[in-house]
Symmetry: C2
Subunit: 317 residues, 2 copies
Amino acid sequence: MTPTPPTLLVLDADPPPRLGRLTGRARIVHTDAGRLAERLPGADVLLVWDFTSHAVREAWPGDGPRPRWVHTASAGVDHLMCPELAASDTVVTNARGIFDQPIAEYVAALVLAAAKDLPRTLEYQRERTWRHRETRRVAGTRACVVGSGPIGRAIARTLKALGVTTALVGRVSRTGVHGPDDLDRLISRADWVIAAAPLTDRTYRMFDTHRFGVMQPSAFFVNVGRGGLVDEEALARALTRRWIAGAALDVFAAEPLPDDSPLWELPGLVVSPHMSGDTVGWRDELGVQFVELYERWAAGRSLPNVVDKTRGYVPGH
Amino acid sequence: MTPTPPTLLVLDADPPPRLGRLTGRARIVHTDAGRLAERLPGADVLLVWDFTSHAVREAWPGDGPRPRWVHTASAGVDHLMCPELAASDTVVTNARGIFDQPIAEYVAALVLAAAKDLPRTLEYQRERTWRHRETRRVAGTRACVVGSGPIGRAIARTLKALGVTTALVGRVSRTGVHGPDDLDRLISRADWVIAAAPLTDRTYRMFDTHRFGVMQPSAFFVNVGRGGLVDEEALARALTRRWIAGAALDVFAAEPLPDDSPLWELPGLVVSPHMSGDTVGWRDELGVQFVELYERWAAGRSLPNVVDKTRGYVPGH
């Protein structure tokens, strides 16, 4: 008699690729947010494929029967963490590694576009206006990257490759990483301030009126972490009052950004739809990564990418 | 008795900085294009500060008295070379070195902006439209840089730092540089084709219907060399017919680009006003460079940056 395979519950809108590899080794049940609560108690594994959903937080069964393992197809885990999940013995893993290089390139694109005044070039082109400007040299400028995980480190590597002097700031100081005490000093002289931290109690709205007030008038701010890292009203004021020169947000407190948000038209702000890490093939890479983790889990081996549930990210390095 | 200092004729619209350092060591005469012809015979040195002007070509005195040295505050010399100047013993020098890193960063900005679909992001922002797209990873793509002088080499270094496999094409093959015979093969598989060659008889309109027809439909073409490298009508057809995915032109056959040029509105084309090398402080750097060259010349020492007048660029390396 073949043993019954574990039940893999998949929270998705569109089904993930690659799960066909698990045929016979998992009983795969797809669910939407509405039926998640009733299905969670019977699941051994939960795959949060729809990482825009906050449904897990609301549906988590507390002390009752629950999945032993939750994997999210995202780097951040803020959308699914809740005190009951954090207190349980359920293991949470994330998609660490998939987004590092794409996000680093995206940040480099924004930094270079700002230095070379590309948005204004495109405006002048629309007006058929030939207007020469002097632009900025990126080599020799300074960046402060907030977030010392794999994404922050990839951003730092890429900016350094362009000749940018780059400092990393993490939750605790260690070799090559500054602690929070250095943050204000570093951003006060940075040309580029890059937010790439996980969203936790400690980082919630860390970019506020005080922080934008510390930055140089020539500074450019980029958020590729989570919308909650930024006090959006404070950023709007900082841009309107020219406390800083410009900014680019790929993530927002509310996504999709509502039609009537004033952020769409703020001077010097580039708005993009949470896409910095999503290069062609990304969904497939996420599927491959999950299948590999599942095979390890099913074989009883230890999992990589395990999230420290009280901190809200994968610790290490 | 103090000897009469050499006459330094400066073709300019705005006077260059730093020439105050030559007080007492040069008799400085400023001229516009209209009076250039009458003043050239009495000049020992000509500084072509207004590098947009073609006046030298028209005013050059032929066999008569003429400057012994002509310096142009530009990398290209196509705007001033004429058969009489080429045949004479007058030395021509250029601004080699000033524009390398700025232009390399500019090309990186355009490549990354294209890979990350930034122009479309800005369009959607104007329409307050939240539309997620998958973008391209730059690392692992291929570039072909046409032009193996210091600018082309700086572009290649910068793209390589971003993980792009980059081939350089020059007039003759040598270590690290492909010859013209490899050009079609290299551009046929390049994701990014970068024109950074001097404008000479050999490079005039080298990017024509044939060359755009060799490229991949996903290719992106960038011209930071001279407008004359490109058959603009052929490029327009290639973009309209989607032979290639996009292009960015910083230089044009006619500059400023006329208001009624169809290039302003071509699908997938970024138009910028010949500014790729012009970072803050560039005019000052050009002034400093000329003063250093003048001091060498006045001391009877050999000059760097000497242009091979028959080839139309500074040979070497």
